[in-house]
Amino acid sequence: MQIDVDIHPGTPDVAALFPYLPEHWRDMSVMRGITDLHSANYPDMTPLAARPDWRPPKGRPGTSASLIASQCLEPFGTNVGILNPLFPVQTFYADDLAQAFASALNDWTRAEFLDRDVRFRGSIVVSLENVEMAVEEIDRCAADTRFVQVLVLAGTARLLGRRTYWPIYEACVRHGLSLGIHAGQDFRNAPTALGWPSYYLEDYVAHAQSFQYQLTSLFCEGVFNRYPTLKVVMLESGWTWVPALLWRIAKYWGGLRFEVPWTDRSPEEVVRDQLRFSLTPIDGPDTDQLRRVIDHIGSDQVILFSTDYPHNQFDGIDVFPTAFDATLRKIISDDAPRAAYPRLGSLT
C-alpha cells in the first residue's frame, strides 16, 4: 500500500467556501470585496507553486478530486492521500472571522474531496488566534474519522511547545489525531528571526529554520513527555537538517537539563518515538549522502512518503532518492505512514 501524506487541494477563491460559511460571513465577504486569499507562502505563479504538467491553463492547480486523483494518486500508485489545504485562513486576525473561515475550509475539504473519493483523508485546519475555538473546531470535525490530523503552520505567533497551545494537543490525543506542522508562516512574526528577507527564495529556505525552532520548543517544553502518544508530523519541512539539530539539542541538554527537568528521553529517542518528516522536498543532491543522513537520524521509520503535489519539487514519478533501497521505500510508503497516523491504522 502507498500513502501520500502531503497533497495540497487548491481552493480557487473565497466564493468556493460560500456554501460552508454562515450567511452573514458570506454577505460581509461580498460587501467588503474579500474575493480571494492569495498566500504569500505560495504566490501562485512562482516556478515552485506548481509543476508545469500540474498547472492548469487557468486558475489554481488541484481544485477538484478527480484532477488530484488523475495527476497525483494514479501515476504514483497511491492508495491513500492526505490533503493539507494551504488556503491561508490563518491570516485573519479577528478570532471569529478566522474560525469561520477555518471551519468553512474544513467543510469544503469534506464535501469536495473526502465525499467524492474514498482514497482521500483530511486535515483539520485551525487558527491559533483563539485556542478554545480551535479545540471546538477539532472536536467538531473529529467525529468524521476521515480527518486524520490537525494542521498548523511552522511559523506561528508563539512557539508550538508553549503551554498555551496544549489544549490542542490534548484534543489530538483524545481523538487519535496526529499533529501536522506544515511549511509556511501565519505571519504573526517575520519569516526569520532577523526580520524580513528580500527574496521569496529566502522565505522558502527559511521554513527549515522555523521547523528547527519548533522541534526544539516541543522538546524543551515537554510536549512529548506530557503527550507520549502524540504523533507530530513535519510536512514539506525537508529532513536533512534533522541530525545536526538533534546533536545540538543533546549537547546543551547535558548542561542545561535543570531548565527542562521533565525531559526524560534524548532528542534522538523522542524523534524515533514521536516525530516524523514527509519525504518531499529532498534537500540534497541525489547521492549516498542522503542514505547516510538516515543513519545519522538513527531510525529508518521517520520518513513518510509524499509528493507535495502540486509543488514543483521533482520531475516525473521518481520521488525517492536513488540510494533508498526497496525495503526502505516500502517502510516510507506504507508502514511508517500507518504508524504515524493512528486513524489510518485500520487500513487494508
Binding site: 503551554r163 517544553e221 515537554g222 513527555n225 506530557r226 543533546a250 549537547k251 541538554w253 547535558g254 548542561g255 542545561l256 537539563r257 535543570f258 527537568p261 521533565w262 526524560d264 528521553r265 534524548s266 529517542e269
Partner: protein, 137 residues
C-alpha cells in the same frame, strides 16, 4: 587498595571540600552536612575539574510545571559544561550523558587505625581519640 588520609575530621567541616592526589590522580572529597563523599576529580565528559564546580540540589519533574527539589548540596555541577553528578554515587542525571563520575568510598576512621598518609602517626598532634577522614583507593 590502600587507605589515604585526607585530613582530620575536625579540620574538615561541613560545606567544605579538599583536593588530594592518590596514585597520581586527583580526588575531590566533600563534607556534606557531616557526611563525606569522594569522586575522582576529572569530569567524565571533557575532563573539567570537579572540585571547582558548584554544589546544588537535584531538580526533577514528573510533569512540565511541577518541580521536586531533593539532594540539596549533594549534586556537583562541573565548572565547565555544568554536567550534574550525584556525589554519593557518581550518577549523572541526563540521558545525554552516558558516563558516570567515579566515586570513591570515604570513611571516617578512628586515629588508631591509621597506617599511612600526610599525617604521620608519629606527629605530636596525633591523638588516639581523634577521628581522621580516610579515603580508600
Amino acid at each position: 587498595m590502600a587507605r589515604h588520609v585526607v585530613a582530620a575530621a575536625a579540620d574538615f567541616p561541613p560545606g567544605t571540600r579538599r583536593l588530594i592526589t592518590i596514585n597520581d590522580r586527583a580526588v575531590v572529597v566533600f563534607n556534606v552536612k557531616g557526611e563525606y563523599f569522594g569522586l575522582y576529580n576529572k569530569c567524565p565528559h571533557n575532563g573539567g575539574s570537579l572540585v571547582q564546580g558548584v554544589l546544588t540540589g537535584l531538580l526533577q519533574s514528573a510533569n512540565p510545571g511541577n518541580y521536586t527539589y531533593t539532594k540539596q548540596g549533594e549534586i556537583i555541577r562541573c565548572p565547565w559544561h555544568g554536567w550534574e553528578f550525584d556525589i554519593r554515587t557518581g550518577q549523572s542525571f541526563c540521558r545525554a550523558i552516558r558516563a558516570k563520575a567515579r566515586p570513591l568510598p570515604v570513611r571516617v576512621e578512628p586515629g588508631s587505625d591509621i597506617v599511612e598518609g600526610p599525617y604521620k602517626a608519629e606527629t605530636v598532634e596525633v591523638r588516639v581519640e581523634n577521628d581522621y577522614v580516610v579515603v580508600e583507593a
